[in-house]
């Protein structure tokens, strides 16, 4: 017994997921998925390529793509969980339904945790990683190896969540993990520990990412690219990065202190011993509110790019948009209390924070009007990214308005903890963050892989997301106003039933939307020859990322560009000097691949898993491996690789020859196979 305990901690046969058919099924899917991936890699002999070209790569573009892959996999899992919950509530009128309360609680906890930390965050970090250095005319981020470490930490957290499907049960404490419920007294299992360590791993990664992005934007801009000439997406990335640097520590503190309570018997948030759970709530939302702006600002950045590109106009009110982003970033540190208006502080405190919250509506409103004005009298094309942007514009306004309602403490006392809140945050997060990231995916996919995504399936998918969202979440406003508490597994109130049925229908549409996204990818890969845009500029883009080949060379720019104004590439095109040939080429230094990332990733999983299950040797080993890997890395002497000028020149000239041979297309042919990525300058 004690040997077993020393070797395997709390692990036992009862950790296997045979307590319900659905849990067994989910675990089997994870295991089968992993086996299929391993078998496939072995069959195609792709292990070496995977290791050399991807896992150890420190190229910001590949790291970005890997982040997005993680996000899409996790999106699939969490979306299925959302659909399961909707199905449960649809049938659970006056009966138990098919999920036990415990299982239902695991589902909303994993769904929320995954959607925020392992879907939305990796998605936006991936997109920024891919796009931002290209937009500022840099060859990579400031710290490429650190970038790969951050990715590995995020992946380790996601892996821990996947393992939790197979071994043991996940937390039932929701995505916010409030004590005292999550204390050892009420949640003695390993679930909360899984949650703590998965979050800790990813939040360390995110802090480092924020640092990396901020330094990159401050120090690595191309000559001439002053701050007030930066594309709006870069501004959004900068503000998000700053928020990451300052908002992740509160989360780290909250979860670490909770861990001390659970592992060392401390009394930070317990009922007895002088503990105070309100401390946790305060710390959590010190992180939580800036977090929602970490999520939404990059989406705002994407929409700014999309509106201006697909209207063929410079953004309306550039300066006001910049000020608005910065105002939102700073204000987001002043409103966290609106997540706990009902916790017992005085009316004076509540009103101050309520007013601060409403103030955020002002810069947000400015942005909405600027985007509308950008389209006014533009040459608007309704391609897929713009469709997402339009859906966002309308639906986000509705979600924002319900937020203004909630910012009023009086109203909040009424609908607090009902599904009204669930409706509100899905209403800002799905049209805002998810649509933003899907728009980014459609917009920059051709840049990353050299071919466009199928337009027809893209439209179908966009229509399904929009309709599904409306059907799934508008009923929740009604239900919330009627009083249905959130996180409810079953109910006896007949009036709720029709609305939960409608919402379940919406969830089915959302599932179809995800499926059509996958179909679109398959169809596009099949037709990649007809969709190819090797010249690199399929949308008549306005910023520097469109001025290089698709996919871009490893070093991004053969020679670093000079920037003399906003919308640098659009300026060059209208001056009929889109692709100025460089006078000479130089050797380019790029960082070598490094195994540090994967090593830290493995160490992270080991440490997290060991801590969760009280397998101390494994936890210790993980920590030692991490420290050892960092030290070993500091002794590596050759960290740089040189691509000689002749190679650069040859590659660049080949691309220029292609530019000369491809037809330049008008915007009417944007979605036709004639579009090879060379844009005909607009006759102004």
């Amino acid at each position: 017994m004690s040997l077993w305990h020393a070797l395997f901690g709390k692990l036992g046969y009862d950790a296997l997921p045979f307590y319900s058919a659905i849990a067994t099924g989910a675990a089997s899917m994870v295991v089968i998925g992993a086996l299929v991936t391993v078998a496939g890699l072995t069959w195609f002999g792709a292990w070496g390529t995977l290791w050399r070209e991807w896992l150890t790569s420190v190229d910001h573009k590949r790291i970005g793509i890997m982040y997005v892959v993680i996000a899409l996999v996790m999106l699939s899992r969490a979306l299925i969980e959302g659909c399961l919950m909707r199905a449960q509530q649809a049938v659970a009128y006056d009966q138990k339904g098919f999920l036990t309360p415990d299982h239902f609680s695991q589902l909303f906890s994993t769904h929320g945790t995954i959607m925020i930390f392992f879907m939305a965050m990796p998605f936006l970090i991936g997109v920024i990683n891919f796009v931002m250095p290209l937009q500022i005319g840099a060859r990579d981020v400031s710290f490429p190896v650190l970038n790969s470490v951050s990715l590995a930490l995020t992946a380790a957290g996601a892996a821990l969540l996947m393992v939790s499907l197979c071994l043991g049960k996940f937390s039932t404490g929701g995505w916010s993990g409030y004590p005292p419920y999550t204390e050892i007294a009420y949640s003695p299992g390993v679930g909360v520990d899984y949650w703590i360590w998965a979050l800790s791993l990813s939040s360390i990664g995110t802090t480092m990412t924020g640092l990396n992005f901020a330094v990159t934007i401050y120090k690595k801009r191309a000559p001439g690219l002053t701050l007030m000439r930066m594309p709006l997406f870069v501004w959004a990335a900068l503000c998000t990065a700053i928020l990451m640097v300052f908002a992740m520590p509160p989360l780290t503190v909250a979860t670490s202190l909770l861990a001390l309570d659970r592992y060392a018997g401390a009394h930070f948030f317990t009922n007895g011993g002088g503990g105070n759970m309100m401390n946790y709530v305060n710390l959590f939302w010190l992180f939580g509110h800036p977090e929602v702006y970490i999520l939404i600002l990059p989406a705002f950045g994407v929409f700014s790019e999309v509106f201006s590109t697909f209207s063929a106009k410079a953004l309306y009110g550039y300066t006001s948009l910049v000020i608005a982003v910065m105002a939102i970033a700073v204000l987001s540190f002043t409103v966290w209390l609106h997540h706990f208006f009902t916790m017992g502080q005085g009316a004076d405190v509540n009103s101050a924070f309520g007013i601060a919250t409403m103030l955020i509506g002002i810069p947000t409103g400015v942005k909405i009007y600027d985007w509308i004005a950008t389209m006014y009298r533009g040459r608007v094309r309704f391609s897929v990214p713009l469709l997402y942007a339009l859906a966002f514009l309308i639906l986000f306004a509705v979600g924002g308005l319900s937020g203004i309602l909630l910012a009023n403490p009086g109203v909040d006392y009424q609908v607090h903890n009902t599904v009204f809140l669930v409706a509100h945050f899905h209403n800002v997060i799905i049209p805002g963050v998810l649509f933003g990231m899907l728009a980014a995916y459609h917009y920059w996919f051709p840049k990353a892989f050299g071919f466009r995504l199928d337009e027809r399936w893209g439209r179908i998918s966009c229509a399904l997301w929009t309709a599904g969202f409306l059907l799934a979440f508008m009923p929740l406003y009604v239900l919330g106003a009627m009083g249905l508490p959130r996180r409810t597994v079953s109910y006896t109130e007949a009036a709720y039933h029709p609305w939960t049925l409608i919402a379940a229908g919406g969830a089915a549409l959302l599932f179809a939307a995800l499926a059509s996204l996958i179909i679109q990818l398959v169809v596009s890969i099949r037709h990649r020859a007809a969709l190819a845009v090797p010249a690199g500029d399929p949308w008549d883009g306005r910023n520097l990322e469109w001025s290089v080949a698709a996919p871009p060379p490893e070093y991004n720019f053969a020679t670093l560009p000079h920037v003399d104004g906003i919308d640098a590439f659009a300026r060059r095109k209208s001056a009929h000097d889109a692709y100025p040939a460089p006078p000479a080429y130089e050797d380019i230094e790029i960082p070598r691949p490094s195994a540090l990332g994967p090593a830290i990733g493995i160490a992270g999983v080991a440490a997290g898993f060991g801590l969760t299950w009280h397998i101390w040797w494994m936890a210790g080993l993980g920590l030692l491996l991490a420290i050892g890997a960092v030290i070993a890395r500091s002794f590596v002497r050759e960290t740089i690789e040189v691509i000689d000028a002749a190679t650069v020149a040859a590659e660049d000239r080949a691309w220029r020859a292609l530019l000369a041979s491809e037809p330049a297309v008008d915007r009417d042919a944007e979605c036709a196979s004639a579009n090879r990525g060379l844009a005909l300058p607009e006759a102004v």
Partner: protein, 224 residues
Amino acid sequence: MTASATRRHPGLNLDHGDEAAQLQTEELMFGFWIFLMSDLVLFALLFATFGTLRHALAGGPGPQTLFELGSAAKETALLLASSFTFGLATLSMKHEHATGAVLGWMGLTLLLGAGFLGLEVHDFVSMTDKGGGIDRSAFTAATFALVGTHGLHVTFGSLWIVVMMIQVGLIGHRRDDSPTHAAGRRKLVDRVHNRMLRLALFWHFLDIVWIGIFSFVYLGGLAR
């Protein structure tokens, strides 16, 4: 190159000759400052947690019983001295004193840091012995968390000093030591310099956090 053109980032400046190396240094230093500021937020919140829980004794012993003024004073002296000796280590690196001098100051810093950690462990043990272990009350938990996090940082800093002593020993710290294979060597030496600069920031930063700890945790708790 004039001094003002090369002294661009805060922290000690080693006056690297060429522009590229200087830019590299600035990027690294700026990144490290951002890390420190993120860390500072973490400490600030631990301080805030301590501040809100400092009276939550739950019937257990309070600061007057648990803290020792003498020990806190010795810790403060050790850490202050170590900040000074590390400053001398970077100075003798900058002015290209003998490798032995650099290593000597670093070794002394390491000893002082180890002494500090030893006293801290002694404090924790004696607190626990007096019935004020981490699991006694919210007050003891908050104390252990705040002081312990600082201690962990000092531990990592000490490990970092060991690694840097090895690297200074292996690679040296003078840019133009040997005229053969100069370019490659210079890069390595630059890297050693950059790491030392960041380690210096880290070490001095920990001293600043300690000012908060001895003032508000120990002295604030013991004042009558």
